[in-house]
């Protein structure tokens, strides 16, 4: 059977030598190299569950009245989009599980991308020749976050409606072109009839198509360049050490896919996520207290909450407060991420190609920088739930906000110093 398939393909495409070569492709074995793989498998799970959801979701803002198994909302007016999510959750067999796996997969997808990015950063894997893949990776992170946002925005519940309004306000705040841009993106003042179909189209087709294309390039490039190796005996820039693709690595990789899917299925079955029926349908005059975005936008939410009440007046024009944390901060952060490998190269003067990684302690300055960035992001992430912290700790929101406004400057410095000193001490120990 296999013999016949191989003969059939080879007699048409002359693949034998190429495929044999591919089976011998060497992959290093290290747990930290699996983070990117986990992201890839989450993407596959997202596509599988997403196709299922697509068969039922109705991307329409048309007003309908709910009649169905969820009695708490009986007779309530809502959008057709929201009703179709209720039906998916309560009427469609397996629908709720698919929804919850889909949402969990999105959360883990972005978590895996971020963890993968930190691994690449702290081992200096972004150096030449893999700087190109760093740039693609940062783009993938941005697209994944955007697609996650569109995904949880389309059900048209109170929480998502609030999120879209905030996003609209951020776009609106951009100097000169903001109003036009916001109206072009959202089709008018939010909420509009067209925003759900638009976000849906982007969510199920445009962004996934771009993500898929970039993902394939990301993998093709690493296939061509070969993976890096951790430093160790017999590791050099001229060799690659690991196990062959066939059969060992392939079995492990496919096994890992099933394990990732299993964890997501367990989460989807046992841990409730985004219960939109509790939030209720979106009404322009309703807002949910303690409303928060999905975790990967927590830093953006925190930025909005932490930034002081500052308006910039230019002549007779206005740059509103949300522009600075809502537009400028993300632009700056992602610009920094994009150019980091090139700044690194310019500062160190290291233009060589590298295939052996560095361990964090071997590069104290980079590690300190990474820890400072991590600390900064953590503080503004925490600020995204300042109201929840206030309730839990019994202190006022004002006090917590003030403390976090101080911490946002101090924490990165402290983190950098601690990291730098730790690296230096480890260096001394390793030298002995």
């Amino acid at each position: 059977m296999i013999r016949r398939i191989v003969r059939g393909l080879d007699s048409r495409l002359r693949l034998a030598a190429l495929m044999r070569h591919s089976l011998d492709h060497i992959f290093p074995d290290h747990w930290s190299f699996m983070l990117g793989e986990i992201a890839l498998y989450c993407f596959i799970v997202l596509v599988i569950t997403g196709v299922f959801l697509m068969m039922f979701f109705n991307a329409s803002a048309a007003a309908v009245t709910y009649h169905g198994p969820y009695k708490a909302l009986e007779g309530v007016s809502m959008s057709a989009a929201y009703r179709s999510v209720l039906d998916l959750s309560f009427k469609v067999r397996l629908g709720l599980l698919m929804r919850q796996i889909h949402h969990w997969a999105a959360l883990v997808f972005i978590a895996a991308i971020v963890a993968h990015m930190f691994r690449v950063f702290f081992t200096a894997a972004y150096r030449r020749p893999r700087d190109i893949n760093w740039v693609i990776g940062v783009t993938l992170l941005i697209l994944a976050m955007a697609n996650g946002f569109f995904g949880y925005s389309v059900p048209d519940d109170v929480l998502s409606g609030t999120g879209v309004r905030v996003a609209y306000s951020i776009v609106l705040s951009i100097p000169v072109i903001g109003p036009w841009l916001a109206f072009i993106v959202f089709g008018g003042r939010v909420p509009t009839e067209v925003m759900i179909p638009r976000m849906y189209g982007l969510h199920v087709f445009v962004l996934p198509a771009i993500i898929l294309a970039l993902l394939i390039s990301h993998l093709a490039i690493i296939w061509r360049q070969l993976h890096t190796n951790y430093p160790g005996r017999g590791r050099s820039d001229r060799t690659i050490v690991g196990s062959r693709l066939w059969p060992t690595y392939a079995a492990k990789a496919i096994g890992l896919f099933f394990l990732v899917f299993a964890v997501l299925a367990a989460l989807g079955g046992s841990v409730e996520i985004n219960p939109v029926w509790i939030y209720g349908p979106y009404k322009p005059a309703d807002a949910l207290p303690a409303a928060q975005p999905d975790w990967y936008l927590g830093w953006a939410e925190g930025g909005l909450r932490l930034f002081p009440s500052f308006n910039l007046h230019i002549w007779n024009r206005l740059v509103p407060e949300v522009f600075f944390p809502g537009v400028l901060l993300p632009l700056l952060l992602f610009a920094l991420l994009y150019v980091y490998p090139f700044i690194d190269r310019w500062v160190t003067g290291d233009h060589e190609q590298h295939h052996v990684l560095l361990l964090p302690y071997q590069q104290p300055l980079r590690t300190a920088l990474g820890c400072a960035a991590l600390a900064f992001m953590s503080v503004i992430f925490v600020a995204g739930s300042d109201d929840v912290i206030a309730v839990v700790t019994g202190r006022s929101v004002v006090a917590i906000r003030t403390a976090l406004r101080v911490a946002v400057f101090i924490a990165p410095v402290v983190a950098a110093l601690v990291a730098w000193v730790t690296c230096k001490l480890l260096n001394i120990r390793h030298a002995d």
């Binding site: 060497i26 397996l94 709720l96 599980l97 796996i101 609030t162 309004r165 905030v166 306000s169 705040s173 951009i174 100097p175 903001g178 109003p179 036009w180 916001a182 109206f183 072009i184 008018g188 061509r224 360049q225 070969l226 001229r238 060799t239 690659i240 050490v241 690991g242 196990s243 062959r244 059969p247 060992t248 079995a251 496919i254 096994g255 990732v260 299993a262 299925a265 367990a266 989807g268 079955g269 009404k283 322009p284 005059a285 807002a287 949910l288 303690a290 409303a291 909005l304 932490l306 009440s309 308006n311 007779n316 024009r317 206005l318 509103p320 407060e321 295939h355 300042d386 929101v397 906000r401």
Partner: protein, 291 residues
């Protein structure tokens, strides 16, 4: 360790390995059967999710154990081919590629044509964006209220000048436009002599009935809460607070602009009506808001 012992160890490890793989695949089959049973009977979410996890997890564990225990696991070392081509190869490519382009480049008129075509096409494609939204300023600055609009509750009932107790607040809308986003307003009743409104707004709050836009000037969320004791309005999204007594000026949090105030008067039936539009366009700020 002698070669014989190694062989024995290996055999033992393979034996227990194939036992584990079989066990994992059997668990996967059991999970699959449980999933089928759940799907065709109760369709309980927890049961379905756990059964699916057991099925997939069994397959995953089986494959990973198989790879670790039964497959070749020695580390292999392979060469890395250089990623760069030789200089000659690169020069040949550049020659082939640039050779054609230079011939075109010499004709200046053609060069200008390339510029003209590209910019026209780009302009045509970009201008198509106009279809995606209407002009913003007329919408953003459209009057939300006009003089004479009667204030009604979310249920559509008119609000009389004594309807509210001191220290209470309700959401109100213009009559016939209940639920309107831009016009949603908070009506609050405070002791009239506590109010510190600007001079020109002194008669905007008859009998301590003071009204503000309900849309936060920060990021556009509806204001959720009125704290009676402190006379503060609180936005639930980013915790901005506004002082009702000081014409809803922001007191803490990220918001920088006061909530627009709605001037009120009392009609013949003792009901509250708008004496005009909000003091500024309601909602989050934008570039040409001040003009």
């Amino acid at each position: 360790m002698t070669g014989d012992q190694q062989g024995n160890n290996r055999e033992a490890s393979e034996g227990s390995g194939s036992f584990l793989v079989t066990a994992a695949f059997l668990i996967a089959v059991a999970g699959g059967i449980a999933f089928l049973y759940a799907y065709w009977t109760s369709a309980n979410n927890l049961f379905l999710g756990v059964a699916l996890a057991v099925m997939l997890g069994g397959v995953g564990c089986g494959l990973v154990i198989w790879a670790h225990r039964l497959m070749e696991n020695e580390e292999v070392t392979g060469p890395r081919e250089p990623l760069e081509s030789s200089i000659e190869e690169r020069e040949l490519l550049l020659e082939d590629f640039l050779g054609g382009e230079q011939r075109i480049g010499r004709r200046r008129l053609l060069g200008w044509m390339v510029v003209a075509v590209t910019s026209t096409l780009a302009a045509a494609f970009v201008s198509v964006l106009r279809s995606f939204g209407q002009a913003p300023t007329p919408v953003l600055k459209k009057a939300a209220w006009k003089r004479g609009d009667r204030l009604v509750t979310a249920e559509g009932k008119p609000v009389s000048v004594d309807a509210l107790d001191l220290g209470s607040a309700i959401a109100v809308f213009p009559e016939n436009r209940v639920g309107s986003l831009a016009a949603q307003t908070l009506l609050i009743r405070v002791k009239a002599d506590l109010l510190r409104l600007p001079k020109e707004r002194e008669n905007w709050a008859p009998n301590g009935n003071v009204a503000f836009s309900r849309i936060c000037t920060h990021a556009g969320c509806p204001i959720g809460l009125y704290e009676t004791r402190e006379h503060l309005l609180l936005c639930p999204c980013h915790q901005s607070t506004f002082n009702v007594l000081a014409a809803a000026a922001p007191t803490s949090g990220p918001a920088a602009r006061a909530l627009p105030q709605l001037p009120l008067y009392v009609d013949d039936q003792k009901n509250l009506r708008a004496a005009g539009d909000f003091s500024e366009p309601p909602g989050p700020g934008f570039w040409n808001l001040p003009s």
